[in-house]
Amino acid sequence: MKRLRQAINNSDISRFRFHFQLFAFGLLIYGGYLAIDFGSNYIPAFACPFVETRGGTCYLYPLQHQLNMPLSQLFSGRGIGLLTGFITFLLMFVLFNKAWCGFACPLGTVQDWITKLRNRFGIRYSTYSETVFSRQKNIKYVLLALLLLLSLGMSNSLFGMQKLSGDFSTSYCMICPGRTVLPLFTGDMSQLVIDFSSKTKTVLTGLGMAVTGLFFTGAFVKKRFFCLLCPMSALQYIFSKAGLLRLKKDGMKCTRCGNCYRVCDVGIREIADDLESTMIVQDDCMMCLKCVSACPEEGCLKATFLGLPVYEATEQGFFKRMGGRS
């Protein structure tokens, strides 16, 4: 048992993650071919239903549909649909917490591939200044709020406004890069159009096209560019504290050497500088555990599942991974 744990702690999490992501991508994008379908299961990652052959369903899609109901029906059958949908999402999420983003979300994986490509070309990445970073943190919550309100607004008059037209149905999906990018992997380019059937749709799908362009260029210059704006990430974070998989820190053992912050793709500074929190997952964190693998202090950072350590920072593991590189 001790040997196994040591072997795991000595392992290269990034390599494992790369392969796991590949596997998850196959499952969630092409699973349909093998009649694998988590489809009835709503998952907390962008397994987009606009992909015909998918093996799972992004929860934001049903969520937007289910919210499109008069509030008076909240306690009727439709309300129950909303509730069970939410519960499935929550159960799936709680299991792996934000590791859905680091290990399974197809859109996250695509961004990591783009990063690899950039690195191959020897082109440097850019980073945000702290002010930009903190300002842009909020965008995903705004998107999430809009997503909820616009869905509700079609069947209810909110804030004394008129009910919105049905063209706002799954309005977030219209601007989501999941819809335009992921079907490309099955050779389906049909989403790459602007829908001129109504004014609302023209604007939304036009925005969608712009977002798609931004998605590719963004991911090329900034690691996980889109994730920092993702409303799914915002929704997840609300429940992150309940996750069974956790990222923990022991501030007493931390030397603030900054290695963890150095390697973090999304630039989470707290991972190095926060010495108080023991549950250290921040809203932009994707639980890729790169920080754990870069921490040289025994047990300072660790991932736990139901309280049991699954991957832990060790001096030996650190030097093993860092030595003999390049």
Binding site: R124, T255, R256, C257, G258, R262, L275, M322, G324, S326
Partner: protein, 422 residues
């Protein structure tokens, strides 16, 4: 006339220095059951200091005045890093011509040495890198430039807590990289830097092995030996040093397995901190261990602070590796030149626990305001911990030895009495 006088001073200073070094080595070796693998280090110091500490390396040598200089970059540019920080009283006296009597011994001795032995050093040192850390080092840099050395001032932020400070430092390191390449005419590549990082990280890995052996109680190695090993890193060929330390570690590992130990089983375990002990000025650690204590851990820039942290980078490309190297020198730094130095307090506290420390000895070189001023906060940090502290203000002369030894003995007695009561 003038040169004649200088030659006389030079001769006598170097003679005094050799005697001093000899005396220190004699004391260091005068302990029972020294590890066989320490022989390499004793011989190294003897051979190097018998002829005045000459620079025998091939290629361009870059002198460094502080641990803040990123040695990976120097190595990657095909040069040899050589830490100049000096610990000799003879050179301290020679430096009195340039720096005030109230300046710190270490800075003064370094300037003195570079003055006395300027003919070789000016020829052999391609550059002297002076990080703008404490006042003494900064002004020493100006003095050296006047003496005709090719001085490079490496700008360092005075705090490490903001992102701005971090970027300022990263840019400073980038400029330094360009200067190094200019000097050696060799381009730093991702391959050469990768090799340099591997080498230094391996050195730190072995250093940490030694560091961890020092946690064992009863102790398997004396602090004086550990300090000598890290002091050797200042000037020794890195690969050779690495091999010698690996041998020492392997020997200590066996020793620990067999349950062998050095000194008294119940020797008070001391954490040494403050101004850095640099050979031959290992006065206080030696006095401690001669009086039956064990210097189980140190938090000084001539040892642990120099060799504990390793570089971690993400992408194998210069744009990521160079800032990673820069981060290694700023983020974990606990030098008191930094403002808001809570990390030093935390580090000491953590070490006191990990090494089962009985008492802390805090060396302050007369004239070093920074360490002197942090004295209060460190004392406060340990106020309720039951771990006593001893502050010792000293310099490189031997005049205070008697007085120091009395205070040290009293301190150790009180620790022993406390341990007995437990």
């Amino acid at each position: 006339m003038h040169t004649e006088r200088f030659e006389r001073v030079k001769k006598s200073t170097n003679l005094h220095f050799t005697m001093e070094a000899d005396e220190a080595l004699r004391k260091i070796e005068d302990f029972p059951s020294n590890p066989g693998a320490m022989g390499y280090f004793y011989d190294l110091f003897r051979s190097v200091y018998a002829n005045g500490g000459s620079l025998t390396h091939k290629g361009t040598i870059i002198g460094t005045m502080c641990v803040q200089v990123p040695e990976e970059l120097i190595l990657a540019a095909g040069a040899v890093p050589f830490r100049l920080c000096n610990g000799a009283h003879a050179f301290d006296q020679a430096g009195a011509e340039f720096m005030p009597a109230k300046a710190c011994s270490l800075a003064r001795a370094t300037v003195g040495m570079l003055h006395i032995n300027r003919s070789v050093h000016k020829e052999r040192l391609g550059m002297v890198v002076v990080p703008a850390t404490c006042d003494q080092k900064r002004k020493a840099g100006e003095l050296l430039r006047e003496m005709g050395y090719n001085v490079y001032i490496l700008e360092v932020p005075s705090s490490k807590n903001s992102e701005e400070a971090r970027h300022y430092w990263q840019n400073s390191v980038k400029r330094f990289t360009a200067e190094l390449q200019h000097l050696t005419g060799r381009k730093i590549t991702k391959k050469s830097l990768g090799t340099a990082i591997n080498l230094t990280n391996e050195a730190r890995r072995q250093f940490r092995r030694l560091y961890n052996f020092r946690k064992i109680s009863p102790p398997v190695v004396y602090g004086k030996d550990a300090l000598l090993v890290s002091n050797a890193y200042f000037f020794d060929d890195k690969e050779r040093w690495l091999q010698a330390l690996t041998d020492l570690n392997n020997e200590l590992e066996l020793k620990a397995l067999k349950g062998e130990s050095v000194g008294n089983r119940h020797a008070p375990r001391i954490l040494f901190t403050g101004s850095p002990p640099v050979f031959p000025h290992l006065k206080i650690p030696l006095l401690l261990e001669q009086s039956g204590a064990i210097v189980a851990a140190d938090e000084v820039c001539s040892s642990t602070r120099m060799l504990y942290d390793a570089v971690a980078y993400d992408e194998s490309a210069l744009y990521d590796m160079i800032p990673s190297v820069a981060d290694r020198y700023l983020k974990p730094c606990t030098c008191p030149f930094l403002v808001l130095n809570d990390d030093r307090r935390r580090r000491l506290k953590d070490m006191a626990g990990q090494f089962a420390i009985d008492g802390i000895v805090y060396q302050i070189f007369s004239g070093c305001h920074l360490y002197e001023m942090e004295q209060r906060t460190i004392a406060k940090t340990f106020a309720d911990s039951g771990i006593p502290l001893l502050f010792l203000e000293t310099d490189y002369s031997q005049e205070d030895t008697g007085q120091l030894s009395t205070r040290i003995e009293a301190f150790l007695e009180s620790i022993k009495a406390r341990k007995r009561r437990k």
